[in-house]
Amino acid sequence: MFRKILIANRGEIAIRVIRACRLMGIPNVAVYSDADRAALHVRMADQAYNIGPAAPTQSYLVMDKIIEVAHKAGADAIHPGYGFLAENWQFARKVEQAGLTFIGPPSESIRVLGDKLEARKLAVAARVPVVPGGPVNASELKKAEVLAEECGYPVLVKAVAGGGGKGMRVVESAAGLEKAVASSGNEARSAFGDDRVFIEKCIVRPRHIEIQVACDNFGNAVYLGERECSIQRRHQKLVEEAPSVFVDQDLRARMGKVAVEAVKAAGYVNVGTVEFLVDANKDFYFLEVNTRLQVEHPVTELVTGIDLVHEQIAIAAGERLSFTQDDIKIQGHAIECRICAEDASNNFIPSAGTVLSYAEPSGPGVRVDSGIKEGSEVPPYYDSLVAKLITYGADRGSAIKRMKQALAEYRVAGFVTNLPFHNLVMDTDAFVKGDLSTSFIQDNYPDGVIHPEPTQDMLEAAAIAAALAVYRESKRMRQVGKCDNKSTGRWKQQGLLAGVEKLQGGSW
């Protein structure tokens, strides 16, 4: 097993890996940017090294610096988390070349699967169903038209390079194709220096369903059921669950087998996720392979009882999978809400700030993977995800009810969160019925996300709380002398200072 693991990440996922290290008795090393000096992952790690200024390009993305720290701290393995360098094959290769273990797949698997065209070729060769389509140069309009015709409208036009839905366009009919190809090509050229675009059949109102796989170095490969991640904004997931209401045992087995074939074809080792689009007829199409731990891995952990981060580390250390396909039983239902610093009612605009007050829900069926606590900073430089709230129940209904209860117990003050959005989703008929698609948000909140009006009862209680605070404070002030340290109007003081001052000055 490893001597020491360096965690090349921040926030909740760094803490998730720290906990896995603790479980396995492996010392761990955190890294942090200047903005994260007091961050929770630094507090929880055994050791921590500063790796530069706040901007990711000067800290969390600086490969050589991270490898240098690994050497300095005596780490022999690096866990990349998700995001940042997690799917960067060059980083994985550098780690390998430095004589360290990259806790993830071989760099070559990352490279192949990270290239959309290569990954697609590989999938086709492994008889994995793919969305009809292909690449063209942005200038070859004729070729594009033929291709689009073959796929059948509506089609999707997107950059070959890059990812995450950048410059993606839906074209409803032949009339719109030229403009879409030109603009996608332009954007792709300026963003990636490669103006090739990919044209593919647009699957209408698809579900986003992904299969978790795990492969060891001995040729064992197992699928661990699916996750449904259809609720997205800006192509980023917000709510995930396992299992999917849409997937029966037969479909699960078929998708699972295909997923295993797909990763095997790429020489894949470690845990990974094969993403599919599934249409209303339960036909499924290969989307891509995420060659890392997913944000939403906890829902799979809860329904399978398997600790995926533990498994990642064990596989990377050369151990065999601790389970076979037959051992995998899906039990109960788990839902994850990504708690983000963003205002869902205002087009999901990100927020930032100091955590003035923080209380996590707890109790039966509730798991919180958080990157913050009271007093933490949410810096404006990184992803808006601050925590994940996961609930588990014997069935989907209980998991939803537990989520509602847990959301009501969750208190975050200091910046805007999407807690009210999740509350709204849990109350939305389509969600409760399991009627999901990647256009869930547009379909169900066509006028934008509008949080429900608070009840009159709540409004009055809040008004009374505010008035009482003022009343009690003014009374207190009248009783306080001019220069009395012990009972100086702290609340008033706070009223005059900014909210942040509160924590800096008085969080004892």
Binding site: A463, I464, A465, L468, G489
Partner: protein
């Protein structure tokens, strides 16, 4: 003491009298038995209203109060009766100040979408701020006329900086 609380665009009249053990509270004229558990110097207080339990936390922010209650956040403006009287004489709007668009996060102002004097409706985009690698359209918090634009293109802004103020419609 009588207070006028402006909360979520609505006005709630709250009257408070200390009865030694707790408080006699009237909300919009209706009597409520109120008990507050918690030190006056703490932001946290447990409010018992007719035996209903409300676990509250109250922060002060730029002169207004933020009340946290059951996972929801309420911005409140509290005026005592003296202030209300003065304001009414002056004919000013409730809440004590004109609606403002504030930066919800630190960022860079990249575009001003409207000009002073323009009519806006609540939800109209006014300013674009780049933050967290995204361009974010900030929207008008209220109907009215643009009174002042404090934001400048190309300038960084802190969280909470007032970018635009709005005069309510006559």
């Amino acid at each position: 003491m009588k207070y006028l609380v402006t909360i979520e665009g609505r006005e709630v009249a709250v009257e408070i009298a200390d009865n030694g053990e707790g408080y006699n509270v009237k909300v919009n004229g209706r009597s409520v038995e109120a008990e507050v558990v918690g030190n006056p110097s703490s932001t946290k207080a447990l409010l018992m209203l007719d035996n209903r339990s409300y676990d509250t936390e109250v922060f002060s922010s730029n002169g207004d109060l933020m009340v946290f209650l059951h996972g929801l956040e309420f911005d409140c403006n509290v005026e005592d009766e003296r202030l209300v009287a003065i304001r009414k004489v002056a004919g000013a709007a409730a809440g004590g100040h004109a609606p403002e668009l504030k930066a919800p996060m630190p960022g860079l102002v990249v575009k001003l979408l409207r000009q002073v004097g323009g009519q806006v409706r609540k939800g109209d985009p006014l300013v674009v701020v780049e933050a967290m690698k995204m361009e974010n359209e900030l929207k008008s918090p209220a109907d009215g006329t643009i009174k002042e634009i404090k934001a400048e293109t190309g300038k960084p802004v802190d969280k909470g900086t007032v970018l635009v103020t709005i005069s309510p419609p006559e």
